[in-house]
Symmetry: C2
Subunit: 255 residues, 2 copies
Amino acid sequence: MTDASSSDKAVVTAAILVIGDEILSGRTKDKNIGYIAEYLTNIGIELREVRVVPDVMEEIVAALNALRARFTYVFTTGGIGPTHDDITADAVAAAFGVSIDHDPRAVAMLRERFSEADLNEARLRMARIPAGADLIANSVSKAPGFRIGNVHVMAGVPSIMQAMLDAVAPTLKTGVKMLSETVRAGLKEGDIGSALGEIAKAHSDVSIGSYPFWSETGPDTNIVVRSREADKLEAAMAAVKAMIASHSAGAGEPH
Amino acid sequence: MTDASSSDKAVVTAAILVIGDEILSGRTKDKNIGYIAEYLTNIGIELREVRVVPDVMEEIVAALNALRARFTYVFTTGGIGPTHDDITADAVAAAFGVSIDHDPRAVAMLRERFSEADLNEARLRMARIPAGADLIANSVSKAPGFRIGNVHVMAGVPSIMQAMLDAVAPTLKTGVKMLSETVRAGLKEGDIGSALGEIAKAHSDVSIGSYPFWSETGPDTNIVVRSREADKLEAAMAAVKAMIASHSAGAGEPH
């Protein structure tokens, strides 16, 4: 009956915090940002910022506190393994000002995978969980992630991170889903930029993106219109398509 | 004669600022972060932070000002094309508090590619450069990037960004190169975590990273030792290798 469902209060936002020297050195190429970005878009959560920081306590704490204050959710990846350079759990505890210790529930999960002989001090590090956190199941290799406040702490290994994200997703509140439609212009970006800018001004309540690419026949442009409201998206897309048609028709005419 | 060349003052740092809604929506998967990270490592510049922000003026300005104050260099990618959603140049001008206008040098570069008829208002947007900036040549499609202060503004299209980075690299001061050596342990990360932590403590002046992976024969671990000083790296790596050898020998023995 009203537009309330599509107003700003229905927008659920998120940030990703990638933790790891190996990403910053270029040794490991991140595969999680793009995956999580697409995943969140598909369930109606708007990713607003990403940061990558090194395995340094103060850097993780500062970034986490900046992000968790601004967005509905924060998702971290990396730094929850069994070695000395895995300091994410300690950094999260420090950011929230809570204690951290071996969590009996997490130890029990590790026991499903490791014998008592194999459950050494290093592996038990993976059961160190900040006080008050809920565990995130790890269907791949047992060692859990955790949620505390609006922060979800996940593994850096993509297959494990993906399993954790599947475990977390049903617990997240989701916003009105962003709708998106793409049209291939068959024209160079620079040929339609001014006209597209006019359309963007006239339809300021939708987001219009322009993405050039090289097709088999030369430079081309994808135009993406995004909105949470189908009718507004449709109106803007109609304007975009009419503009493309007039440009394509005009392209063959003499000047 | 002295260690001065390897002291902290020789460390050159950097941050990357990726600008673009399409990265945050997951529609486009970033390929620039990993490329720049590896590139900087190879020329002795230490990447310390990455941020991804949307095509929103205040967000770009805030992130840019935070990063340029902290690191030797900032490299931005994205948002310098011919359409209304390309607002990076304006945001950089705003961050530096300088004016922005069509730059005759940039217009001349565009004229190398476009006829007067094709050099329309949209394409001329790509010649809008903040006052006081130096241009960064674009050998792929002419429209230049630019440098202002310690900030290098580059295209988002990977092939163009890579050409710009090649153009910029000779102008950068570089630090003492970070040396890196990797050994494959042939052991599970959790089996060597405690011993590796002891080595990291004893060799606190080097960086020791532990990266689990799945090999054809099961779980395995790469251990990476990094330092700017060859002798320190060598000493830590010797300790790591001795630890691995003792573990491998011990693995066959009865408990």
